[in-house]
Amino acid sequence: MATARPTTSARRLTELLDPKFMARLDSLDVLSRKILQGKLQGERRSKRRGQSVEFADHRPYVAGDDLRFVDWNIYGRLEQLFLKLFLEEQDLTVHVLLDTSASMGTGDPSKERFTKKLAAALGYISLVNNNRLTLSLFGDGLRSQLPNLRGRNYLPHMAELLLGTACDGFSDFEKACHEAAAGRLGTGVTVVVSDFLFKQGYESGLRRLIGEKYDLYVVQVLSPQEITPDLAGDLKLLDVEDGDAAEITATSALIQYYKRNLAAYCSELRDFCTRRGAVCVRASSGDSVESLVLNYLRRIRLLR
């Protein structure tokens, strides 16, 4: 697992996100369905009551409690020891896993562009809202990672990583997920952006990412050519990743079967996610990232 460091010749974020879009992203924040403990006192309420400014309740003192939280004013009046309880505000970790295998480089408009834009938007929102952002690019295992970024200062680093990585090579989703899950700390939201066309299957990989501490969001991005194939005649289809060949005669019947298979595959993925409390989103690289982020992701309450 390589860790990318920002360089001085940072690519500009505006190559991925235009300023207007960024302005609209400023008003958004990442939402977690679970109120989760953060490592630092952040801007978020957590379930844990602790050191914070927001008063929650009182409770009787029991031996061993921190004497700093005893409410001495009440002891003065009632001569009983009560502790002040506060709601602790915690930060949120946003873990974006972006697929950069060769299959993501296909399509017109390219899935690569779409997914990188999406990742940039999510990263932007996270950094702007002082969330902890971990950006991981995976293919045949994790390729590069920017762990635990916080604050606007890291925006160029993020853009540099996204723009500096090309989509190529094989994909090994399970290995990537294993590595990502092992390096994951704290709690938060995990967003996996990929086409999920993995020959060895996506189930075992996703299973590793699903856990109590993290919300899992699965964004499946397909190109328009994958959704509605524009093929005719006798063809030899070559897989861009492993070079596997499939000889087909593109008849309407075959295309029907393809579409049926694709629909079944997508719905399997959705069901798999739903059963495990994850949210699956399907997008086409022909659509606009803006509407996906501003509308759809808000509707499913990934953002607010």
Partner: protein, 655 residues
């Protein structure tokens, strides 16, 4: 609709259709396309194969078009025809007239070419069979070309290219037209074929299809069923002016002087004026203008009389040569616009007089215009070598006076007294005191000869063969006779002139003159120079090892070898004109072949042919197609389908 070669189509279909499908499945060239993942495609293909094995054939426009094109081609191979005529195969005999009148150019390019064209259309419309057809329904045809004689160009066959080639091979001729031989030959071939072939083709008789202008001489002698013959009439006009006769003669007294007689005939209804030119060896010597009246025919029943006029030329020409007479001005038939005559040089006889001594005869012969007269004794004559005599031919004529030679060389003979042996004439006894009771005063030998006062004391009683020509008779025996035996012409006088009072008669000198003149012309006429069309050229006594070269009027040469008898025969005198024969070591011989046939020069086409007892009218329609082959249409359809398939493929229509 019928199928000519359905089996062929079936075989081809059995091979080609699976081949196309196999080729379709095993297409070698697939376009390579990169996709993000073959995962779903492989599943789709698997599903497709599991669910519908023939799915890929369904609604595949390209394959459908290819199959349709292939089907069209296979159907074309099966040879469908739109049969305008049904029933079993028929047999036809195409009789094509190639006589002189068919050379007329009143139809473009000529009547014969038109006949060939119509015959070809007929052949092409025949139903053709095939080796692999289900049943033999082919039409068979044979081709006979005829003028004076019939020539089989092609025997019965269903092979159209062969028939067409045979029709193309028919050459023009300038002969008369006689159909009888052609009909006989056609019937003989038809029967011969039906005997060996029990199939459908042999059941009905052959039908005769005649392409002619209808000017056929021997129609009266041909018996024909009214439905046996179909007559396709060719020709439009009858306007023609022809040279129908020509004769050129030298005067005997003045051999330099040549008289030429030409007869012109006009077959048109209006009188015409034409120039006639006379040439010698190609140089024009004289031109005469002649007005020829129109033909006369009061009604259909009355005989046809062409307008005729005679033109005569007189010229002085001493050498040998070819006279040609030409009618100036074109008409539709050119082969009767010229005539030729071969002019021999003036000839004087060389005479051998074999006599024991006869001053009267000798002086009478010397009075005649001879090249030479050699007296000879009987002993001297017998001493001559007959073989050398026959080879060298030193004399044209031998006069035998009271001498019976031991051998008789081939020559002309004037015999006085006892007849020689070997000519089938016997003289068993002598008779006495004879006078002439009858003679043929019109015969050239006895012209101006009065035999009334002839008396002979002794004469031989001649016993002549039946073919002898008796010119004068005593009361008991022939007195003068002419006989031809083995190439020898013998003029026999059955008595010794010295035993008669003939020397004192003026008729004796006249007789000698006439006899030499007559035998001289017989000598020259042994091998005629003027021939009719198709009359063979004959040249006798050609050495076995030499080859005669015959030059035709068009300038081409033919080498002809003599047969075992030493005779050169060249029968192919189909065209009018001058034929020359060159034999090494011999002077060139020239033959003039003339049409000189009034019937052939009458070119007016006939629409009805009056056979013996039957009248056949010309077919009103031109040659009708018996069937229409449909394969070109199918091939066209296949081509169009292939084009559409190509278009579809190129436009990458979503299928």
């Amino acid at each position: 609709m019928e199928w000519l070669t359905p089996l062929m189509g079936l075989y081809a279909a059995a091979a080609a259709v699976p081949l196309l499908l196999v080729l379709y499945f095993l297409k070698l060239k697939r376009r390579e396309t990169a996709v993000s993942s073959t995962l779903l495609w492989k599943r789709a293909v698997r599903d497709l194969q599991v669910n519908a094995p023939f799915q890929r054939l369904r609604r595949n426009l390209l394959l459908l078009l290819q199959l349709l094109a292939l089907t069209a081609m296979l159907l074309a191979l099966a040879g469908p025809v739109l049969a305008l005529r049904r029933g079993p195969g028929r047999r036809y005999v195409l009789l094509i007239d190639r006589s002189a009148s068919m050379n007329a150019i009143d139809v473009e390019p000529s009547r014969l070419a038109e006949a060939r064209k119509q015959a070809k259309v007929f052949v092409e419309s025949m139903r053709s069979g095939s080796l692999v057809s289900l049943h033999d329904q082919a039409d068979y045809a044979m081709v006979i070309a005829f003028d004076g004689r019939a020539k089989v160009m092609c025997n019965f066959t269903a092979d159209k290219p062969q028939l067409l080639a045979a029709i193309d091979a028919i050459e023009t001729g300038h002969g008369a037209s006689r159909l009888g031989e052609a009909v006989t030959v056609a019937r003989a071939f038809a029967q011969g074929r039906s005997g060996e072939n029990n199939g459908a083709a042999g059941e009905t008789g052959a039908r005769l299809v005649l392409f002619s202008d209808g000017r056929i001489e021997d129609l009266d002698s041909i018996l024909i069923d009214s439905d046996e013959l179909v007559f396709h009439h060719i020709g439009e006009t009858g306007e023609n002016v022809a040279i129908t006769a020509m004769d050129a003669r030298r005067s005997y007294e003045q051999p330099e002087q040549v008289e030429v007689f030409v007869s012109l005939a006009n077959y048109g209804s209006d009188s015409v004026t034409r120039d006639v030119q006379l040439g010698v060896n190609g140089d024009v010597r004289a031109v005469r203008s002649a007005t020829i009246p129109g033909c006369q025919q009061a009604s259909d029943a009355s005989p046809f009389r062409p307008g005729k006029v005679a033109v005569s030329f007189s010229l002085s020409y001493g050498g040998a040569g070819v006279l040609d007479v030409r009618k100036v001005g074109d008409d539709v038939l050119t082969c009767d616009d010229s005539a030729w005559a071969v002019l021999e040089p003036p000839r004087r006889l060389s005479v051998l007089l074999v006599t024991p001594g006869n001053p009267v005869l000798e002086s009478a012969l010397r009075a005649c215009p001879l090249a030479r007269l050699d007296p000879c004794t009987p002993a001297g004559f017998d001493a001559m070598d007959p073989a050398a005599f026959a080879l060298e031919r030193p004399y044209d004529l031998i006069v035998l006076d009271n001498h019976v030679p031991a051998h008789l060389p081939r020559c002309q003979y004037l015999v006085f007294g006892a007849p020689p042996g070997g000519i089938d004439v016997n003289a068993p006894r002598e008779i006495e005191k004879q006078i002439v009771v009858d003679w043929r005063a019109q015969h050239p030998v006895l012209q101006y000869v009065n035999l009334t006062n002839l008396f002979t004391a002794r004469a031989h009683r001649l016993e002549l063969p039946r073919d002898a020509d008796v010119l004068a008779e005593f009361n008991e025996s022939p007195a003068i006779a002419f006989l031809r035996r083995d190439g020898r012409d013998c003029l026999l006088v059955g008595f010794d002139v010295m035993q008669s009072n003939w020397p004192f008669e003026p008729g004796f000198v006249l007789f000698c003159y006439n006899a030499l003149n007559f035998l001289g012309t017989q000598l020259g006429g042994a091998e005629p120079h003027e021939l009719e069309v198709n009359q063979p050229i004959r040249i006798a006594e050609v050495p076995a090892e030499s080859v005669a070269t015959i030059t035709r009027p068009d300038g081409s040469d033919v080498a002809v070898e003599p047969d075992a008898d030493g005779t050169v025969r060249f029968p192919a005198t189909q065209h009018v004109g001058v034929y020359a024969a060159d034999i090494p070591g011999r002077p060139r011989r020239v033959f003039a072949v003339n049409l000189a046939d009034e019937k052939e020069s009458r070119i007016e086409p006939q629409r009805e042919m009056h056979f013996s007892g039957t009248t056949v009218a010309a077919a009103t329609q031109t040659v009708q197609r018996a069937n229409v082959p449909l394969w070109p249409v199918l091939v066209l359809v296949a081509l169009l389908l292939a084009c559409v398939e190509w278009l579809v493929y190129n436009q990458r229509v979503r299928i």
